[in-house]
């Protein structure tokens, strides 16, 4: 299933945050959204998933979601959003219960997603017992459990330290290589964007407009840390964004 953004504009009161965004998120690809802070990339993700309504324009689903899909558009949040009073297992069963999936059927799904995220030994643990990286893997496992058509990842690695981030990037690549998923991936980290993105969308500062779309056709599995070609793309992205990022940084916040 593809997602198409059709001339999306959005404002909060008098503040225009997004202007005329048209974009395709093709099936089986990871589209990274990058841009200076406050450019509305997280807002755009909330619009895609229906957590907010765009002021203008539409978000369209093209084609039907895969079979067995329980929640077409599924988020992975920066702050993990795990229920602290439920175990790892309980946090995943939370999103299955409402679809009437209980007992053995739920256990099978939970066992499968925990194995895919290498969490099988921690199913009984509470979130407070887990490290940041593990918490985010639980959140990814929870997202996988509902067999989403599109994953909406809102800076999923930004709350983690750089070593954990590196490890989780490898995990995400492995997950995608085993079974490709569709994702819109918001990040301010260009290294993440060039590692994970098949297509990188660069937004300008507020009001966010698409400045450029960079396609990287190197397979995800071949993209290692410190790859020369990726470094080049990353430098190109940074050159494009540097001045905007500086200007955005010096802007007064009164939204």
């Amino acid at each position: 299933m593809d997602i198409r953004l059709d001339a999306i504009s959005h404002s909060y009161g008098d503040t225009e945050v997004l202007r005329d965004i048209s974009l395709d998120i093709p099936n089986g690809k990871i589209v990274c959204l990058v841009g200076p802070s406050g450019c509305g990339k997280s807002t755009l993700l909330r619009l895609i998933g229906g957590l907010e309504r765009p002021s203008k324009g539409r978000v369209l689903q093209l084609g039907s979601p895969p079979e067995g899909c329980l929640n077409t558009l599924t988020y992975v949040f920066q702050d993990f959003a795990l229920l602290p009073w439920r175990s790892v297992q309980g946090n995943i069963s939370l999103v299955l219960e409402d679809h009437g999936i209980k007992g053995a059927q739920a256990d099978a799904i939970i066992t499968d997603v925990l194995a895919r995220t290498k969490l099988s030994d921690f199913s009984k643990a509470l979130p407070r017992q887990l490290s940041g990286g593990m918490k985010q893997r639980v959140a990814i496992a929870r997202a996988l459990a509902v067999k989403p058509a599109v994953m909406l990842m809102d800076e999923p690695l930004s709350a983690l330290d750089s070593q954990t981030r590196e490890l989780l990037m490898d995990d995400l690549v492995a997950l995608w290589t085993r079974q490709s998923f569709t994702a819109a991936y918001v990040t301010h980290n260009l290294a993440e964007a060039v590692r994970l993105g098949h297509r990188i969308v660069v937004l300008s500062r507020r009001p966010g407009e698409i400045r450029e779309i960079v396609e990287i056709d190197m397979p995800l599995a071949d993209r290692s840390h410190g790859n020369a070609k990726l470094e080049q793309v990353q430098k190109h992205l940074w050159d494009m964004m540097r001045d905007e990022a500086r200007a955005a940084d010096e802007e007064l916040l009164d939204v």
Partner: protein, 269 residues
Amino acid sequence: MSEATLPSQPIEVRFRGGGFAPKARRWVGLFVFVLLIGITEIGTRQGWISSLTLPKPSDVLATFGELWESGLLFKHLIPSLSRLAVGATLGASIGIVVGIMIGLFSYVRAGMVPLVAAIFPIPKIALLPLFVIWFGIDEASKYALIAFGTFTPTVVATYGAVDNVDRSLIRMGQSFGLSWLSIVRKIVLPGAMPGILSGLRISLAIAIILLVAAEMLGAEYGIGAYILEAGSLYDLERLFAGVVILSLLGVILSTVIGFIERRILGWRA
């Protein structure tokens, strides 16, 4: 600072961290009680605390013993406990329901918050005659008074607790397509539980205070009636025996809530 006063010896960095982290100190609470009672006992025995100021703790204990032996203790305690149980349960449960409604629905909030703010500062004891007219002189008016007094603090604590539930968890629930009822039941309620329970600590203490007030009116038996009777006769031993029972009741209720907190809020630690 001039060169000459600079010390040549290295100075160890002064420790200035630590503190502000309460730790469990088991026996200190008991020690404070024992110390205060011990001082009173010695003072009353030696005469530097006159018997008009405070009764001898040992005499209070003896009075307590008589109460126990004569069976009067339970004659007073059981009606009090049932009044407390019925009134507090009524007030706290209605309070929790209304508090949750205020937390969830803007119209209920707009309508109820000013009303609760208006009711809260009324000394409920002042309404006692009104309750007698409404509910009669027997048990119902006592239940109503205690319920009314527990209701307001419970409401305030509950809607504050609901307001404090992490919104990002609610957005998460919505993003996974959870139904409204599931979000309330599985995210809002457990998230509000810590605040509701700590509100209950206050509400239940207020319920005990109001128990005595409720028994001021036409109660033959009850801890409150017992204290009031002793007070009007200036029988300090019996007065204190009654007060000790109320204090014990407060300690027991607070312990029970602490136990519940440890059981159902184990995820916080």
